[in-house]
């Protein structure tokens, strides 16, 4: 069974993203509302150690590693800039571009070495990490809520349940335009590691799994399911699904909800593999390490109900060690 431990941090406000380094399976990049980007070795000592802490001037909403060496990162937040950080020197290298509203999501495409940022100003910006410049900007019809990229695909989840899928090699026109199959606002979108499709979650306790291939066979494989519902008296309270994370090796995925529950799903067999005991607060972000051996889980006030106490008292980071076969889909034994 998996082992769960808490990482000691100095994070003083809600966590917005957690991402494991592509190079070091224990280095975790954490962006948070306390205007800080941190690099944490989750497995140093008994409860981890903060390697780096870079302050920004506004709350950060997302961050990602850039490149394969885990030495640089990009982040964005309310101050509307897309920032590029040198993690070796522990400092901001440059501001790649500026949106006219907060940068909500940021991701890095390995195949094409591109940093993609999406903002509430309804644009996505593509940047080259080599030249540290903006390479192109694209205006979309709605606020961007979540980005995810795999291989040459970029999935953009927007307001009004709109989802665009781009081929990064040809950004002039979306490869596909879709409406989310969920009725409520899209919260997060994450691509499958095998590049076949993506999972998206809504604020109304549902996750949809869809495929890129427009053929009818593939499209008929798409499905959605309910999750993150807690019975309360005689009502089921439906929580938002804030975080999704695909296991890099097995293609199973974890969902984290406003109820503080993390569940592990086998998308192929359409089965829930596991559901872990409740965390103290809403799950804000999750990330598997590149070797798939552990899952970082950020638990803090998610502002789902429009309430928070300032400052948020509970901003905690957990790591769940995955057992040998814990995240393995049933079909793989």
């Amino acid at each position: 069974m998996s082992n769960n431990f808490e990482v000691a941090t100095t994070i003083s406000d809600a966590i917005s993203s957690v991402n494991y380094s592509p190079a070091h399976s224990t280095n975790l990049l954490v962006s948070s509302w306390d205007q800080t980007l941190r690099l944490i070795d989750t497995h140093a000592g008994t409860s981890g150690r903060e390697l780096l802490q870079i302050d920004s001037q506004a709350p950060l909403l997302d961050a990602c590693f850039v490149g394969e060496d885990g030495k640089s990162a990009a982040a964005g937040g309310l101050d509307q800039g897309v920032k590029f950080f040198d993690l070796n020197r522990g400092q901001l290298t440059s501001t790649l571009s500026s949106h006219t509203s907060a940068v909500k999501s940021i991701c890095y495409n390995t195949d094409l070495s591109t940093i993609i940022s999406g903002s509430w100003d309804r644009t996505i910006h593509l940047h080259s990490p080599q030249s540290q410049t903006l390479t192109s900007s694209h205006t979309l019809p709605h606020k961007i809520f979540s980005l995810s990229t795999i291989q040459t695909k970029l999935v953009v989840a927007m307001a009004s349940r709109s989802i665009y899928i781009y081929d990064l090699r040809n950004m002039s026109e979306p490869f596909q335009r879709r409406e989310s199959s969920l009725k409520f606002m899209t919260r997060t979108v994450r691509c499958m590691p095998n590049g076949e499709g993506y999972a998206s979650s809504s604020i109304e306790g549902r996750v949809a799994v869809e495929f890129f291939d427009p053929s009818k066979e593939s499209q008929s494989r798409k499905y959605a399911f309910k999750c993150h519902r807690q019975p309360e008296d005689d009502v089921d309270v439906v929580y938002p699904v804030n975080a999704l994370a695909f296991h890099p090796l097995y293609g199973t995925f974890a969902s984290g909800g406003g109820d503080g529950v993390v569940a592990l799903w086998d998308g192929v067999a359409k089965r829930r593999l596991r559901q872990y005991p409740k965390y103290p607060a809403s799950i804000a972000a999750m990330g598997f390490s590149t070797d798939g051996k552990h899952l970082a889980i950020a638990s803090c006030n998610g502002f789902e109900d429009g309430k928070e106490t300032v400052p948020n008292p509970e901003n905690r980071l957990f790591v769940r060690e995955m057992g040998e076969n814990e995240a393995k889909p049933k079909s793989m034994g």
Partner: protein
């Protein structure tokens, strides 16, 4: 003597008469038969007689012949109860026989033996054992009768050898009359000779030989019979003790539980003391009674066996191909738990100025007041603070020796470095210290300036961006110009914790360049630069301030001149001010007095010369004009200007131009702010600027501007590589791209629709519920038509046999519907009410929650009902399915979604298509209007038209639905009263289906749908003429190629192009028919028909004076002349959603205010509900 017995009496009853061995008296028989006809008296008589006998029996022991009463009693019973004495006889016989079994005087009494024989023959369950018992007791041992009977019994059992043995025993004992016995024996022998005994028959002695039981420890030599051994076995503890495990439970009577029939059993140690019934002898099979205390009562069958609650019969034929294993009803029986969404949906879906919902981060930002914070502004404010501080410091510094300062500056390089880390943690202190240095440098040492410049060159971007903007807009612009790395950190490090690292870097740079500073203010270099650049910035600030409200090249130009003039004065001016400030020592006051702060105070403090220009050019946002290119070169925008100038003053002077070019950088970001509408203009203008990035360009701008605006939109030039791409994007943005590029077309054109459908990013065939069988014919129409004709036909046309309800089985029977009746004929297709034979299965799928991750995608599989509507489309068209589904997809969970009919499935065949829709039983608005008009209907009103409040209510519902559709770029295209179904659903969980028990439905109208009001409304059906505006270019105009009538909008009738008008007119028509009870008629407003002016329409009918004439006429005015109300709408074009919303809100307000007057809105709606129910 007595008369002869009427044999006929006996004859009639003879099957009820039990034969007695000795025969019956015919008289007695006849008597009792006759008596039995009078049951009541007979019963009484019998009871009396029985009682007499019983009494006699009680004292029988005192009689000389105690047997006599028994004999008589038995005889009486046999006579009276002709059909057998039953239990009475049995009990009496038993008592008689067993009473005397040990009385020696009766042992050879023939009468007693006869009683025994009767008992054995009639009631004994084991006659042979009874005979053996008698033998053991010695009863009848001397009577031939016993032997004869016993032998006869054995013989009848096939035990001839034993029978012979008995005869021989009897003869040997000389049982009397021995002669008769002998004769019987002879007869037996004769029979035996004729029929010799079987070799297999038992040869054991007829009367068991009594031997000692094995293991008998009793010294009692008396031989014991086997029965005794068995019976007494356990009780006497003779079970083999060495056996550890009893292979078999041996039954034993509980100690002391001696049977009353065997009082002296233990004494005598033998069996055969008594013979009781077989049941008694099988008592080991019966559980002995035990006290209940402590007993565990095993429930029958354990905990409720899980059974299917109800086996539903299903036609095996229908089941044949059905893969669904579960029975339908059990699945649907599963109650769905109510759900509550945790997320604050009202906040998420609070559409503010933008059309998009907000995610939680945005909400959090907003609640913390960080959302609309202009981070530049914050930095700016910080900068201001810094500035003030600087000024303070300057003053302070002034007090110091200038020479000293110089010395320090030159020598403190190392100190700076050292200071660094200390300063980092204290954000505010940072600036203080910084600024002090700066001021010193500025004020005191002109020599420092060149140095600073050099340094700034060296630092490239990091120094460049520094500027102190005082107006918000100016800062926006400028900051975004300097998007390059470090800017934010360097200059505006003030906003809370900012990149210390970058500061560090600055400092490093500083030191490298041997920039000398105060030892105290090591980090000042950045600040210094700020200070330096502040001046140009200030100028810029002035410009940008204007820009905010709209700014053109003219402004720039003018300002540039002004600025240039100002610049020259600036340094000195400022210095003076600073000095002044220092004396005053009050930063706030400074702010008021400082020249640049004048610019800062937006509006009130603006320089007078700017305002008129501003207004002039309001419509054209300047930021975008300034172009968007230059992204790639963002890092070095200012470099040339800077490098070229050693002398700061020159630099200042040059700066305006420089800045213009700088501005180009900003734009990509800013243009978004400006809104998409201007984008094209912006881009075109940008091109202009790019091509002439000098002063001249600015001037030319001024001239070209208005023309450019139009020209450029039409033909975007490809001068900029980035441009066409963007153009394409913008034109597509916000839509699925204009598939159809025609400026005018007929949106209902099937070919055009085909094109649209073929270009969908997600083909319609992959939609949930789409069943494509287009290759095969369905041929179901005829059957259905025939059936419908049959059930609707009357009179002689009516067929004698009504055909059975046709069942439409689809998808190999996986889905099937039973046609009930025809409920409507759409424009193109009939609609049937059907029974969904599969209803309920869908819920089951839905109900499986976490256990099974699989669940169908949520859209298109909402809950199914038993009754649904099927629309048959001939010729086939996918369009209605597509548009209906699209409306749901686009609207998402918008409240108006409930006002769109839900399409569950679409079955496409070669020759026909079936559209499975929700069924609403309450009829259409047209039905309601007609019901109101017809005098016999319960809904009839005096005026013959609907109550105004009801009309208003439905109008609001209609407007909301149409608004939502239009907002999402959809046209219904066929709005009329018969395409609006009533949706008056029960409110609350415990409300009855008929609308009873609706306490949860408040009588106070809630425009937001609370208190049950969201359950009441309309449903739009028939999207067959729907149009998705996103398929067309923005300026498209539609032309109808069909014959138009008064129900079509004036544009159509006059062959003018139309778009949204079709729906506005439709709404007007629906409302008109509700309000007036007749079809809409319009006329042009007279006197307003000047040529060239657009015609204005109004309705012909006049309002009643007590109606809300204002609201209604405003509404009709708007709906009939939408083109005149586009002002204020987004893009100044249709849809006039905002205008409609305004009207709707007015109506809602009125409803809220008046909903509880008189009958009240709820009351009226209840009446309608009842009325339409009755109508059915």
């Amino acid at each position: 003597m007595a008369e002869p017995v009427q044999l006929s009496i006996i004859e009639a009853q003879k099957e009820n008469i039990v034969a007695l061995p000795g025969g019956r008296s015919a008289r007695a028989l006849a008597q009792s038969i006759l008596a039995s006809e009078d049951t009541e008296t007979q019963n009484l008589e019998h009871a009396a007689a029985r009682e007499a006998f019983e009494n006699e029996l009680k004292t029988a022991d005192e009689l000389d012949d105690p047997l006599d009463p028994y004999l008589r009693y038995v005889k009486w019973i046999q006579e009276v109860y002709t059909s057998g004495g039953g239990r009475l006889l049995e009990r009496t016989l038993y008592r008689a026989t067993h009473k005397f079994e040990d009385s020696p005087e009766f042992k050879n009494d023939a009468r007693y033996l006869k009683l025994w024989m009767t008992w054995i023959q009639t009631y004994s369950d084991a006659p042979r054992e009874s005979f053996a018992f008698l033998a053991r007791k010695g009863i009848g041992a001397g009577l031939a009768l016993y032997y004869e009977e016993f032998a006869a019994y054995l013989e009848s059992q096939g035990r001839k050898a034993q029978a012979e043995e008995i005869y021989e025993m009897g003869i040997q004992r000389n049982a009397r009359p021995v002669e008769r016995l002998r004769r019987k024996y002879d007869e037996f022998v004769a029979r035996l000779a004729a029929n010799p005994p079987d070799a297999n028959e038992p040869s054991s002695p007829a009367v068991p030989i009594v031997r000692a039981a094995l293991g008998e420890r009793k010294t009692d030599v008396e031989p014991r019979d086997p029965q005794a051994a068995v019976q007494g076995f356990g009780a006497e503890g003779q079970a083999p003790p060495q056996k550890k495990k009893n292979k078999m439970m041996i039954f034993s009577d509980a100690p002391g539980a001696t049977s009353s029939a065997l009082p002296e059993q233990s004494d005598r140690g033998g069996g055969w003391d008594s013979i009781t019934t077989l049941a008694d002898r099988k008592k080991e099979n019966v559980d002995a009674p035990r006290p209940w205390a402590g007993e565990i009562l095993k429930q029958e069958g354990g905990p409720a066996p899980k059974k299917e609650k109800l086996q539903i019969f299903r036609d095996p034929a229908a089941l044949q191909n059905q893969s669904q294993p579960q029975p339908a009803l059990t699945a649907s029986g599963k109650p769905k738990r109510p759900e509550r969404v945790f997320a604050a949906l009202e906040l998420v879906y609070h559409y503010g100025e933008s059309q998009d919902e907000c995610d939680f981060d945005e909400l959090r930002a907003r609640s913390r007041g960080l959302l609309n914070v202009d981070w530049n502004e914050m930095r700016r404010e910080e900068e201001k603070r810094r500035q003030r501080q600087k000024q303070l410091d300057r003053d302070r510094a002034k007090a110091q020796q200038e020479d000293e300062i110089m010395m320090d500056m030159l020598g403190s390089r190392h100190a700076v470095v050292e200071k660094e880390p200390v300063e980092v943690p204290d954000e505010n202190a940072k600036f203080v210290t910084k600024s002090t240095v700066v001021t010193l440098a500025l004020t005191t040492s002109p020599k420092a300036k060149p140095k600073k410049l050099k340094k700034s060159m060296g630092m490239q971007f990091s120094t460049e961006p520094t500027m102190t903007m005082h107006t918000r807009a100016a800062n926006d612009e400028i900051y975004s110009i300097f998007n390059q790395p470090f800017i934010a950190q360097d200059d505006f490090a003030s906003s809370g914790k900012n990149g210390e690292s970058s500061d560090e870097e600055d400092d490093e740079d500083d030191t490298e360049q041997t920039n000398t500073m105060f030892s105290q203010g090591g980090r000042s270099t950045a600040g210094q630069e700020n200070e330096e650049e502040e001046q140009p910035d200030m100028l810029k600030g002035a410009f940008t301030d204007d820009e905010d409200t709209g700014f053109t090249a003219v402004d720039v130009d003018m300002l540039r001149q002004k600025g240039a003039a100002g610049d020259e004065n600036m340094p000195t001016d400022e210095l003076e001010h600073l000095q002044l400030g220092g004396e005053e020592g009050e930063p706030d006051e400074y702010m008021e007095e400082e020249p640049h702060t004048v610019y800062n105070q937006r509006g009130s403090r603006q320089l007078p010369f700017m305002t008129p220009i501003v207004e002039q050019t309001e419509s054209l946002p300047p930021s975008t004009i300034r172009g968007r290119g230059r992204r790639k070169s963002t890092t070095t925008p200012c470099k040339p200007g800077r490098t070229g100038s050693e002398e700061p003053l020159i630099d200042f002077r040059a700066s305006p131009i420089q800045e213009v070019s700088v501005h180009h950088d900003i734009l990509p970001d800013n243009d978004v702010q400006m809104g998409g509408m201007d984008e094209k203009e912006n881009m075109s203008l940008e091109k202009q600027t790019r091509s002439k990035p000098t002063e001249n360009s600015l001037i030319s701008f001024e001239d070209l501007e208005p023309k450019d605006k139009e020209k450029e939109i039409k033909k975007p030039s490809a001068s900029n590589a980035l441009q066409p791409k963007k153009q394409a994007l913008t034109s597509k943005s916000g839509s699925t791209g204009s598939t159809i590029d025609d400026a005018q077309c007929n949106p209902m054109d099937p070919i055009l629709r085909e094109v649209i459908l073929s270009k969908l990013s997600q083909p319609v065939t992959t939609f949930k519920g789409f069943y494509d069988n287009s290759s095969q014919p369905s041929k179901r129409t005829d059957g259905i038509r025939k059936y419908i004709r049959a059930i609707t036909a009357t009179g002689k046309d009516a067929p004698k046999v009504i055909p059975s309800q046709p069942v439409i089985g689809l998808e190999n029977g996986e889905i099937s519907y039973t046609i009930r009746k025809e409920i409507g004929k759409g424009a193109f297709a009939p609609v049937y009410l059907v029974e969904n034979n599969m209803a309920g299965m869908y819920d089951a799928e839905d109900g499986e929650e976490e256990e099974d991750a699989a669940e169908s995608a949520t859209i298109g599989t909402s809950k199914r009902c038993e009754l649904e509507a099927i629309k048959m489309e001939i010729p086939v068209s996918t369009w209605e399915f597509y548009i209906t589904r699209l409306s749901h997809q686009r609207l998402g969970n918008h409240r108006a979604t409930q006002s769109m009919v839900n399409v569950h499935e679409f079955h496409l065949f070669k020759d026909e298509a079936f559209l499975v829709l929700d069924y609403f039983a309450q009829g259409t608005l047209l039905d309601l209007v007609n019901a109101t008009a017809s005098p016999n209907n319960s809904l009839h009103t005096q005026s013959g038209t609907m109550e105004e409040i009801l009309v208003m209510f439905f109008t609001v519902e209609l407007l909301r639905a149409v608004e939502a559709l239009h907002e999402k770029g959809l046209l219904h295209g066929d709005l009329k009263a018969d395409n609006c179904l009533l949706r008056l659903q029960p409110v609350g969980a415990n409300a009855g289906k008929d609308g009873s028990n609706d306490a949860e439905w408040s009588s106070a109208y809630d425009p937001h749908g609370g208190s049950g009001w969201d359950k009441k409304g309309l449903v739009l059906i028939d999207f067959g003429r729907g149009v998705d505006m996103r398929n067309f270019r923005k300026d498209v105009g539609f032309l109808a190629d069909w014959k138009t009538d008064k129900q079509d909008c004036p544009e159509m009738r006059e062959m003018r192009p139309w778009t949204y008008q079709i729906d506005y007119y439709g709404v007007a028509a629906v409302v008109h028919s509700m309000l007036f009870g007749k079809y809409i008629e319009t006329t042009t407003v007279t006197g307003d028909n000047a040529p060239g002016r657009p015609k204005k329409y109004k309705i012909v009918s006049g309002m009643k004076r007590y109606w809300q004439g204002d609201i209604w006429s405003e509404m009709f005015d708007m709906l009939l002349n939408p083109g005149m109300f586009v002002e204020g709408e987004e893009g100044g074009a249709m849809p006039i959603t905002k205008g409609m919303k305004r009207i709707r809100m007015k109506m809602e307000e009125w409803l809220v205010a008046n909903c509880e007057r008189g009958v009240g809105l709820k009351g009226w709606l209840r009446k309608v509900e009842d009325g339409v129910k009755r109508r059915k």
